[in-house]
Symmetry: none
Subunit: 197 residues, 4 copies
Amino acid sequence: MSKTIAKRKAGRPRSQASRASILNAVWELLKTQTLKDLSIEAIARESKVGKATIYRWWSSKESLAMDAFVEHVLPLTPFPENLSAYEAISMQMASLVNAFSGDYGSIVSQSIAAGQSEPDVLESYRERFLDERRTAAKAIIEKGIEEGEFDPDIDLELAVDILYGPIYFRLFVAHLPLDKQFAKGLPQRALKALLKD
Amino acid sequence: MSKTIAKRKAGRPRSQASRASILNAVWELLKTQTLKDLSIEAIARESKVGKATIYRWWSSKESLAMDAFVEHVLPLTPFPENLSAYEAISMQMASLVNAFSGDYGSIVSQSIAAGQSEPDVLESYRERFLDERRTAAKAIIEKGIEEGEFDPDIDLELAVDILYGPIYFRLFVAHLPLDKQFAKGLPQRALKALLKD
Amino acid sequence: MSKTIAKRKAGRPRSQASRASILNAVWELLKTQTLKDLSIEAIARESKVGKATIYRWWSSKESLAMDAFVEHVLPLTPFPENLSAYEAISMQMASLVNAFSGDYGSIVSQSIAAGQSEPDVLESYRERFLDERRTAAKAIIEKGIEEGEFDPDIDLELAVDILYGPIYFRLFVAHLPLDKQFAKGLPQRALKALLKD
Amino acid sequence: MSKTIAKRKAGRPRSQASRASILNAVWELLKTQTLKDLSIEAIARESKVGKATIYRWWSSKESLAMDAFVEHVLPLTPFPENLSAYEAISMQMASLVNAFSGDYGSIVSQSIAAGQSEPDVLESYRERFLDERRTAAKAIIEKGIEEGEFDPDIDLELAVDILYGPIYFRLFVAHLPLDKQFAKGLPQRALKALLKD
DNA sequence: CACTAAACGAGACGGTACGTCGAGTCTTGGA
DNA sequence: TCCAAGACTCGACGTACCGTCTCGTTTAGTG
């Protein structure tokens, strides 16, 4: 909506070719190196774009990485339908563990790592990924409560943290693997905390 | 044993004054800036030390930060004694939440963030902090099992992840605060997952 | 010709202000210190220029010194006209001795000294200074031959070496001064070698 | 004399093995690199000697190079005897040209180059090499005067400069080679300047 | 024959400068 | 007005040597 009524601007319009080329270069480069080691210089070189063009549209390589990330990996690990809340959560958690054990996990952990020194990167991560998923998770839990599976006194946010916290913990600290055993055992044990007494 | 017969080394011995001065400078500098923004140059300047001396003994600013960290904050958040396992864990978790809500938490999160691109920093964190604490936590849980409080089928590692994962989750992602309410609510809810049916 | 059709180049053009500032800083610094003790760092500092800008356009401080030198001292010690070859050479030699006894001599000797380990500096010295002067000297000697003053069997290059070699000898080795007595005595004695029997 | 009455000193005497090893290392290293590029560090490394030992006995790498030089190349290019002064000088000049065209010339030119910024190196060169040779040359010229070959009004120092200056000129500036033709032509032409009218 | 005391190797120290990289900005000409 | 190209200032990188400084270890005399 707002885009269509965007004010008419004089001058040459933004080059979509450049935008795509930049995001693509970032994505390609992140396959072979750390976000930390990625340089604006290299992105410009790789995408045949002037550095100024990058600076004109992005404030940091982190937010640029975030855009590249969004462009490529949005649709992911939905909650299955037509199952009990317990089953649906179990299955979705397992598939998230699986997703985080590969490239996707590495990019998420690097983005959040970058966010430790750049608050807006972290905010961007939350707004563009996490919030949506947490909302979905909370809806499922509420459904479980309504259907009598879960304790009605649950603090929803806390419940989500207990379920997903362990996954992020292993993702960051890597003290133990995000393997099948974990994918199976975690829901079994963690969901106990949500059950009715 | 072997340490007492430590090999005689030729040459001028390492200056303990320099070592202390460097670690102290790192600690001071990290109070006002990000680990990412910390430069070896600045550390050398602040500690009145040659850059080469830093490079001689540390491989990166991250491992240096880790050493500074260890030097300053090792004795922290122990498990209280003479309490039931449930009580001891509850109290220790609360005090960890509290610790992570201040400077200590910021340094931990930055160190682990740095570890995302430097595996040995992460390893160092695990070896010098985490392992010791996890071992202590597992011991308490075992005690709880023996005393009939907790489910004897528990996977200890998984249990620890469920208890502490949510804390690290909020520490990293900062979607919700590490406040008193969380410090109180988390143990109550998460420990349910460990109880006997 | 080719210069006027110089290829159009993309990008920001070289800053003449920086170039001038650098060369000027070099010149000023060389007034108070040895070329050996001159550092790129100091030049950058003094001329308020990034080090990279210096490295972009010069390969070494020696070639930079040579450029600074050329910029400042090209027009020097011409051969007087309307005199006999003998007189013209005598006077020019005397004025060169005089020039070499001051700052000019010190810079020449240091540049050539630098050239002992950097062949292109030496080549630069020859191409941009010496060759032109030697050519002029040889022309005068030829004129002297034509006018019957000098021996027609003279090897011109050798003749020039005999006339000017002693000056450079004293300049480098400093075993004796480049004083008025030398300025007067050298032409008198050395030119005998060129005369007709 | 003075050496034999050298004051008795307590303590360990200077190690001749180290001295020899150092000088030898310098000599070897100078075969493959410039005096400018030679570092005390490298000499110590190569000669298996502590840096302090070098600094204890030499004030700079230049004076060290000079010592190494003296140790290896003192006996050189004497004046032949039983010849006329003209012949003796001619032959000695030719052999000097020849000597300077090889390694010997390169070391001399580098040492004198170093001397441009270190006056004592230059002085050392003069005292330990040049003076002796100039004295010998002046003696021969005087002999030539006595025997009626040369002009009795000659300034001896100036005469030596005229004879040898051209050799050093080519050695330093390298505008023309120190070849056989020069070795033959130079004495023929330059000695004319010394002859009786 | 132990005792001195300087010289020795090794190598850490505080520094300075190196030459390179990338940051973010600026200045062209062309689209 | 945007864009590519590329030069600009700035600051940090990690390295090489500088000359100095401890160390523990020789190695002659001397007492």
